[in-house]
């Protein structure tokens, strides 16, 4: 099979008709792999109107973009998207397929791989082509981030999902040329077994967590919802957003959409202030890409101090108000 399958295909996830950040990251990673293989980089984009996103994908490095346009595909639906993708993969016959480790990515990738009778690696943080075998080396964190594993598969297509913010996009080049191929796929909405009745967006005020340059995150040691108000005040002062560890979310102190970690959001701000967070591997999986981590924790042995650039050992209740006052003063200077 590996003789007939060629090239790298990425799944081009979109938000509101534009390429999602993860898709630009996949194009960056995919371009490098395709160049190494001296093969094509293609993208598949599924939606109601994909023309703008298709041009974007070319500017970010795709040689060819396959689009599936249908009014019924305006929003993600597992079965319809999987069937469109299945058709695209049959046509393109890629050797490598990359998805984002996002909700659509973790839904589509395993089913697609099993359908094509191949194995896959989820949540990869590094991808490379082995010089001798020309196979894809898939590096992913395992054991909650305590270890990394490098996997390889013998069967094509080689499928992987890639962690958000783990790969860099190329600089956008609006003059880059590429081909857009519209695929005619029959979309049978009547055959759908899982119907989306409602989409409930939890209201987020201010800056989105994934986009924030500064994140103030609270953990189990916050011991209740009240402390998060203080974190929010500090976040507003520093033009940042509030995040949380899983125990804080599971306790209901703060909405689960703020969860940072292996099964929550992956963030990479310039500054990540971890307040009363012990720093489990699962949590660090979500924030270890931050430029500077600051830890405030009363336990000097807490794992977070192994990951942080700056730390204060002590009770956040005493530290936070004084910190906030001083930050305010320094910002106003």
């Amino acid at each position: 099979m590996s003789e007939t399958r060629k090239g790298v295909l990425i799944y081009g996830e979109t938000t509101e008709g534009k390429l999602a950040a993860i898709a630009t990251e996949l194009l960056g990673a995919g371009r490098k792999l395709a160049d190494e293989l001296h093969e094509e980089l293609t993208a598949v984009i599924i939606g109601a109107d994909t023309s703008a996103a298709a041009q974007e994908a070319i500017g970010y490095g795709a040689d060819k973009v396959y689009t599936v346009d249908n009014a019924a595909l305006s929003e993600y639906q597992s079965e319809l998207y999987l069937s469109a993708l299945d058709k695209a993969v049959q046509l393109v016959q890629p050797a490598v397929i990359l998805f984002g480790q996002t909700v659509p990515g973790i839904d589509l990738a395993p089913r697609l791989a099993f359908r094509f009778k191949t194995g896959l690696s989820m949540d990869c943080i590094d991808l490379a082509i082995d010089a001798a075998s020309r196979r894809l080396l898939q590096t992913k964190p395992v054991y909650g981030g305590n270890a990394n594993a490098i996997f390889v598969t013998a069967v094509d297509p080689q499928v992987a999902t890639v962690r958000c913010k783990a790969m860099a996009p190329r600089e956008f080049d609006g003059a880059r040329k590429g081909e857009v191929v519209k695929l005619a796929v029959t979309i049978d909405t009547a055959a759908v077994k899982t119907k989306v009745l409602q989409r409930v967006a939890e209201k987020v005020e201010g800056i989105k967590l994934e986009d924030a340059k500064v994140i103030i995150a609270g953990g189990r040691g916050m011991a209740g919802p009240d402390g998060f108000k203080q974190l929010d005040e500090l976040a507003q002062l520093m033009h940042g957003a509030v995040g949380a560890s899983r125990p804080a979310c599971d306790s209901g102190w703060i909405p689960s959409t703020t969860q940072v970690g292996l099964t929550g959001k992956i963030v990479a701000p310039d500054l990540y202030i971890a307040v009363a967070i012990s720093g489990s591997s699962q949590h660090m999986s979500g924030c270890s890409g931050s430029k500077k981590i600051v830890a405030i924790n009363k336990d000097p042995e807490a794992n977070i101090f192994k990951e942080a650039a700056f730390g204060v050992v002590g009770d956040w209740k005493k530290i936070l108000p004084a910190f906030k006052t001083k930050v305010k003063e320094l910002i106003s200077q």
Binding site: M122, N146, K193, E202, K292, F305, A308, V313, K318, F323
Partner: protein, 266 residues
């Protein structure tokens, strides 16, 4: 409502990070001394989700676990929580498998069970964090699937699942049978009751070997893998944290703000 739940016995993910050790010669994790394995936390939450449906609708919850050296005290926990039956796919031949070979075996066992309305799995096991087995089973058996559930309710013939997405959740209605994977947002699993523990003690699990589910040795465990592990290693951390101290916590806080400003961090 007949529900099948797949659970995995794993090394305790809550074990202290310092106890985590790798044997580079075998590319495997050395089980930490004195720390018992557990059911993967998302899988315990899958059991909880099944029991909630049983509480509301009645029916039967069957738990399947695949592995080698399955400790009865560990894998019987779902029974003590209230599950009705435990099937163990326990055979040395299952050792060293990946998501592919595991999903194939679980799908065969589910086919052998025959009748069910729903299959529930955790979103990923907290050891390899692969996150594929649930959807793999759905693909093999050709079932619809909903991932990352935070709530499942079911009535005869259909279920409603709240699926966690990045900015909130979706309410999805699905026909049955369906496969659902659960996320931590579904809530804490219940504690076993004394009555439950006593009942679980008396219940013996059904044990199926590879041949019992119609699988040949070349299709299971290490022999049936699709994905080859080349290397397992612990990432290096530089671990240079500059600790800012002061005579009082307030003083330390002020110095931290000054230091961060100096370093142009904000």
């Amino acid at each position: 409502m007949n529900i099948i739940v797949c659970v995995k016995q794993i090394l305790d993910p809550e074990a202290p990070p310092a106890s985590f050790k790798i044997d580079p010669a075998t590319n495997s994790v050395i089980p930490p001394a004195g720390i018992a394995p557990v059911i993967s936390p998302f899988d315990e939450q899958a059991v909880e989700a099944a029991l909630k449906i049983k509480d509301a609708q009645g029916g039967k919850v069957t738990v399947i676990s695949l592995g080698t050296n399955l400790l009865r005290d560990v894998v019987k926990k779902p029974l003590s929580m209230g599950a009705d039956e435990l099937i163990l796919l326990e055979d040395p031949a299952f050792g060293g498998g990946d998501s592919w070979s595991t999903a194939q075996a679980l799908a065969m066992a589910i086919r052998k069970i025959g009748s069910y309305d729903m299959i529930i799995c955790g979103r990923q096991a907290a050891d390899w964090d692969a996150g594929q087995v649930g959807l793999g089973i759905a693909e093999i058996i050709d079932l619809p699937a909903v991932i990352t559930a935070r709530k499942i309710t079911a009535v005869p013939g259909k279920a409603t699942v709240e699926k966690v997405v990045s900015n909130g959740y979706e309410v999805i209605e699905t026909s049955l049978p369906v496969l659902v994977t659960v996320s931590n947002e579904i809530g804490e699993p219940r504690y076993p009751t004394i009555k439950g523990i006593m009942a679980a003690k008396k219940k013996e699990p059904v044990v199926w070997k590879a041949a019992d589910i119609g699988m040949t040795p070349d299709k299971v465990g290490a022999a049936g893998r699709q994905v080859k592990l080349l290397k397992l290693f612990q990432p290096q951390r530089d671990g240079k944290c500059e600790i800012i101290s002061g005579d009082t916590p307030e003083e330390a806080a002020v110095k931290l703000a000054q230091r961060l400003r100096e370093a142009k961090v904000f």
